[in-house]
């Protein structure tokens, strides 16, 4: 008989265990593949979004000031040498109103006569827009979601008026229909100008250059011709900005993928230790019949190969399904609907390779041990004597890996690494990984003392079973350690994510509490919606409103990126918010802000440019580049990816020509309730597209956003936990199988079923406790490193908060799950047939 068929038969005889091991490998591979698909699909979705709207355009022209620019600029662009085509458009974010709820969408006003020469419209039903068309073109997917069709109407509210659009056509899943993940409505330019009160103004121009012309040169010419009021944006820069934005998410996903396969590796190691153990006699017989050491090792490795191949294959299928599931969460996190899966070939290859490699590496030690089985094992079994020499080597190795991991976490992160800043996250993730690995290798050395310590009090309750459990755990240190390590890693991951979330949430909440002192918030659906300043007066008149301040927003160009400009009224704003000024004297700073060209900047903006109070910052204004002096640095979680400038509304008017208001903050008085006042505002201005929140709702929204940002990671942790649970179950089963005879003896000399079962449960409990306690320590440390990194990566001020409640709950859950995983093995032990077990060798 060939070795491979013997290996195959060995696996086939132990079906349930083989299946569980395959499941562990598959889950690991699935997570790796799913994260790589999620990464690729997210980047792809953004690319599609940009391509779908830029079409054949080479660059995009925008005005610095919101509210658009005069249509005659189109002529100036068209006349620029090298320009082949300039296509005007209007883009506005607003809410579609339905009976029950609202849906935020992009409204795009396009010129039906020429837009199709630039963008691809795949009309799947009805017709395309006509010039002066009053109707709308809606993506098929959006229409289906809302159960709409050609001939139905959609409604929006702008500046106090409701506007209805009849759907004249539907767009298929390609080209323009995929812009914003299909959250888009196309209308004619003429209708857009009318609805959004733009007269003959435009908000962007797409430009295509002549064949053979240099895009950069033409863009430079256009920029020169239009002056400082305009910005010229090349599509590559957007793509670049997006991959920058997604980097954190990608590293996070990859890190958890690595963890999943790591835990899966433990499972495989456990399983193959068990395979060797169970087959000791068989392998001994093969040896005694002339099988070489190598053949025995090969026999075990062949089993690993089968499991690796099948596990990876199943994992690939599961990975695609899992990716779809993950993308649901990623869509929420990045605020873009991702429908399409991109399966990167290198992702597939890596997933298969890692699945196979981890399985083979994990099985190699048991396979080597199998080769050393004496032919005598066929005849007798002696108790194994642990080798202290190996223990010391392992301890030294573990300490070295752990030390290296800790050392790396102490390395500076983010910008402190200068031009290697992009490597900060991968470097720290490697450090965290090494730390986990070192801690995992260290567990065998700690199992002895820890299991004795933890089971000591249990002796007083459970008596002899607790004593036996402790000695059993100590005897199988390697296996106990592998199980405890699985629990440890899962718990550490759980804790680091919840540490990250709770720290972030805590800091955001503190910011919300301190800086958002208003009772009611009124704004538009997005920061680029604005209202005439006259609404400040109207809102003041609402019953219950005692005070009000107006805020204007615009996105400004800083040359090396963009930031949100929050134009406030320094006089009244302080009554609503006490900004957390971290640099500069508070009173002095506020006084300064009233002066011309004085600004506060967020920590993110300050850190990314290494500037502080007294420094100046160049901002593109309608009068060209102007220097603004930093009067204070503030902690603020608002802004464009954290990039925020707080300036005065006076400067907003002077340098950007903006007098409109984007948001109002209100205080209530006279015993009125914020919720009542909010309701009154909504009733009084039904068609203003006002988003009105009382302070509680506002906090709830912030909380939800924080949760959404971290939801992906929670899902991945859950998967790692499932693998860990299988691993724990496997180990406990292995303990039972190995000790069948001992269990038989115990039963023969008078141990009850309950006592025998209790031994297994206590072993599980103690193992869970060792892993749990270890996990709390390692996880706590990892969380501090992750938070430190997040701080340095984003520039946000985040205080580390140890998630006490989650830690307690996680520890309790670790214990419950480990003990639960032991219930079946314990029952199996308790119901052992004594006379059979006694003959078992």
């Amino acid at each position: 008989m060939r070795l491979s068929s013997l290996a195959w038969r060995n696996l086939a005889t132990r079906k349930s265990r083989t299946l569980m091991t395959i499941a562990g490998v598959s889950l690991g591979v699935a997570v790796i593949l799913a994260t790589s698909i999620a990464n690729a699909s997210t980047v792809n979705a953004f690319k599609i979004m940009i391509d779908s709207i830029t079409g054949k355009a080479d660059f995009l022209v925008n005005s610095v000031a919101p509210g658009g620019f005069a249509a005659h600029k189109l002529g100036a662009v068209r006349q620029t040498p090298g320009v082949a085509q300039a296509v005007p458009g209007i883009s506005k974010r607003t809410n579609l109103l339905f009976e029950e709820d609202e849906l935020s969408v992009e409204f795009a006003g396009v010129d039906p006569r020429i837009d199709r020469s630039l963008r691809h419209y795949a009309v799947s039903g009805g017709r395309f827009l006509r010039p002066d068309d009053a109707g709308a073109l809606v993506p098929q997917r959006l229409a289906d979601e809302q159960k709409l069709g050609v001939g139905d109407s959609i409604t929006i509210a702008e500046s106090g008026t409701r506007h209805r659009f009849k759907i004249v056509g539907l767009l298929g899943e390609e080209g323009a229909g995929r812009f914003m993940g299909g959250r888009v409505v196309f209308i004619s330019l003429a209708r857009a100008q009318q609805v959004f009160d733009l007269d003959d103004r435009l908000t962007f121009i797409d430009v295509r250059v002549k064949d053979g012309a240099d895009v950069d040169v033409v863009a430079g010419r256009v920029s020169e011709r239009l002056g400082a009021d305009f910005t010229v944006e090349l599509p590559e820069r957007r793509t670049e900005a997006i991959s920058q934005m997604l980097r954190g998410l990608q590293v996070g996903l990859s890190f958890f993928g690595a963890i999943a396969i790591f835990v899966g590796g433990f499972l495989v190691y456990n399983t193959f230790s068990m395979v060797v153990l169970e087959q000791t006699r068989e392998l001994g017989i093969v040896r005694s019949l002339g099988g070489s050491r190598l053949q025995i090792s090969v026999l075990v490795m062949l089993q690993a190969l089968f499991i690796g191949v099948i596990g990876s294959a199943v994992g690939l299928v599961a990975g695609v399904g899992l990716a779809r599931f993950l993308l649901g969460f990623v869509s929420d996190t990045v605020n873009l609907q991702i429908h399409e899966l991109s399966v990167p070939p290198e992702g597939l290859a890596i997933a298969i390779l890692i699945g196979l490699a981890v399985t083979l590496i994990a099985a190699s030690q048991p396979a080597f041990m199998a080769g050393r089985i004496s032919p005598l094992a066929a005849i007798r079994i002696r108790a194994k004597v642990p080798s202290p020499g190996l223990g010391l080597i392992r301890l030294a190795f573990a300490a070295a890996v752990l030390g290296l991991g800790v050392y790396i976490t102490f390395l500076p992160g983010g910008r402190e690494l200068g031009r290697f800043a992009a490597w900060a996250v991968p470097i720290h993730a490697t450090g965290d990984f090494l730390l986990l690995l070192g801690a995992a290798f260290m567990t065998p050395s700690l199992v002895g003392p820890l299991s004795r310590a933890i089971s000591w009090p249990l002796r007083f309750v459970f008596g002899q079973p607790a004593r036996l459990a402790a000695t059993n755990l100590d005897r199988n240190r390697g296996r106990t350690a592998a199980t405890a390590a699985s629990v440890m890693i899962t718990l550490a991951m759980l804790l680091s994510v919840s540490g990250m979330t709770s720290s972030f949430r805590h800091s955001v909440e503190r910011w919300v509490d301190e800086s958002l002192g208003a009772d009611v918030y009124v704004s538009g659906p997005s920061t680029d919606t604005s209202y005439d300043a006259v609404y400040a007066k109207k809102l003041r008149k609402i019953k219950g409103v005692s005070d009000l301040t107006s805020v204007g927003y615009t996105v400004v160009n800083l040359g090396d990126g963009s930031a949100l400009w929050r134009g406030i009224e320094p006089g009244s704003y302080q009554r609503f918010a006490s900004l957390q000024i971290v640099e500069g004297d508070k009173e002095e700073a506020w006084k300064e802000l009233r002066r011309d060209r004085r600004i506060f900047i967020s920590t993110v903006t300050a850190n990314s440019r290494d500037i502080g109070v007294g420094d100046t910052m160049a901002v593109a204004t309608k009068e060209g580049k102007q220097e603004f002096t930093v009067a204070g640095v503030v902690i603020d979680f608002g802004g464009d990816m954290g990039e925020l400038i707080v300036g005065s509304r006076a400067d907003l008017k002077e340098y950007f020509g903006i007098t409109d208001v984007s948001a109002f903050r209100l205080k209530v008085g006279g015993g009125a309730l914020p919720a009542d006042v909010a309701a009154r505002i909504e009733r009084r201005f039904p068609d203003m597209n006002f988003q009105v929140y009382d302070v509680q709702e506002f906090k709830g929204m912030v909380d939800e956003q924080v949760n959404q940002s971290f939801a992906v990671f929670s899902v991945l942790i859950l998967l790692a936990a499932i693998v860990a649970l299988i691993s724990v179950f496997n180990t406990l089963m292995m303990n039972i199988l190995e000790r069948r005879r001992e269990i038989g003896v115990l039963r023969a000399v008078g141990a009850t079923r309950g006592q025998v079962g209790a031994i297994s449960l206590i072993e599980a409990f103690v193992t869970g406790a060792i892993g749990g306690l270890f996990g709390l320590i390692v996880g706590g440390y990892l969380a501090t490193d992750i938070v430190k990194n997040m701080k340095s990566l984003t520039g946000y001020e985040i205080d580390f908060i140890f998630p006490v409640e989650t830690a307690a709950a996680a520890l309790a859950m670790a214990l419950v799950f480990t003990v639960a995983a032991a219930v079946f093995p314990a029952r199996r032990a308790a119901s052992t047939d004594i006379s059979v077990a006694l003959q078992y060798e």
Partner: protein, 251 residues
């Protein structure tokens, strides 16, 4: 003897499987063992020796028939009740010693008492008993050693001490010398013999070895699941008689 048997089995039958794969391991076997008696059970492989021993010790349940230990019927007891019977009234000695590898010799001996007490702690009375038992099996010097630090003979002596620790009604020994050389085997057998004589223990021993069987007071021969002969052992020439009986049974 004037006293009733301490162990009694009536019409014991044990079958495995059903239908065409049905195997009868023991067929309507009846036997009685008197207090302090040392009985050897012999027979060819597959004659039902081990099955009989397992049934008598409550390790397995009979298909039909009844077993009495100290006049208490153990057939039909629940698992929990059977466990208590094993703990109090039966001591086992196995061919492969079956000591728990993680425990010291002393801890192994104490197991039947420790699992019966809530805290698992030793009492003073137990300590005296241990001293006595380790003296009896001549293992005083090695009572803190673990099984893997003991020779086969030493392990079996520890196993005997374990079987004796609860002063059970009966000790069941399954090939106790099967894994030992002749010298250690003789040690173990004379120890068993002394236990029966001096401590008043009743012993039932399964063995293949006529040289082992001669240590008993009486030999029961099994064949095809039934008792086919009994041989009381007195005086000399017993080994030859046993070998002759076995030869007749075709072993």
């Amino acid at each position: 003897m004037g006293v009733g048997p301490i162990l009694r089995a009536e019409d014991l039958t044990k079958t495995y499987g059903t239908g065409p794969v049905r195997v009868t391991a023991l067929c309507e076997t009846t036997l009685a063992v008197a207090p302090r008696e040392f009985v050897a059970i012999m027979g060819p492989s597959g004659s039902g020796k081990s099955t009989l021993l397992h049934l008598l010790g409550g390790l397995d349940t009979a298909t039909t028939g009844r077993i009495f230990i100290r006049d208490i019927e153990i057939t039909g007891l629940s698992d929990k009740e059977l466990t208590l019977v094993r703990r109090r009234d039966v001591g086992f000695i196995f061919q492969s010693f079956n000591l728990l590898p993680t425990l010291s010799a002393e801890e192994n001996v104490m197991i039947p008492i420790a699992i019966g007490s809530r805290s698992g702690a030793h009492k003073e009375k137990d300590a005296k008993r241990l001293d006595h038992l380790f003296a009896l099996v001549n293992m005083e010097e090695r009572r803190h050693h673990r099984p893997d630090q003991l020779s086969g003979g030493e392990q079996q002596r520890v196993a005997i001490a374990r079987a004796l620790v609860t002063e059970p009604a009966i000790i069941l020994a399954d090939e106790p010398t099967g894994n030992l050389d002749r010298r250690h085997g003789r040690d173990v057998l004379s120890l068993l013999q002394r236990s029966a004589a001096d401590m008043g223990q009743t012993i039932l021993m399964v063995t293949h070895d006529p040289a082992a069987a001669v240590f008993a007071d009486r030999v029961i021969f099994l064949s095809d699941g039934a008792i086919v002969r009994e041989l009381p052992l007195e005086g000399d020439g017993n080994v030859e008689a046993i070998i002759a009986s076995l030869a007749e049974l075709g072993d």
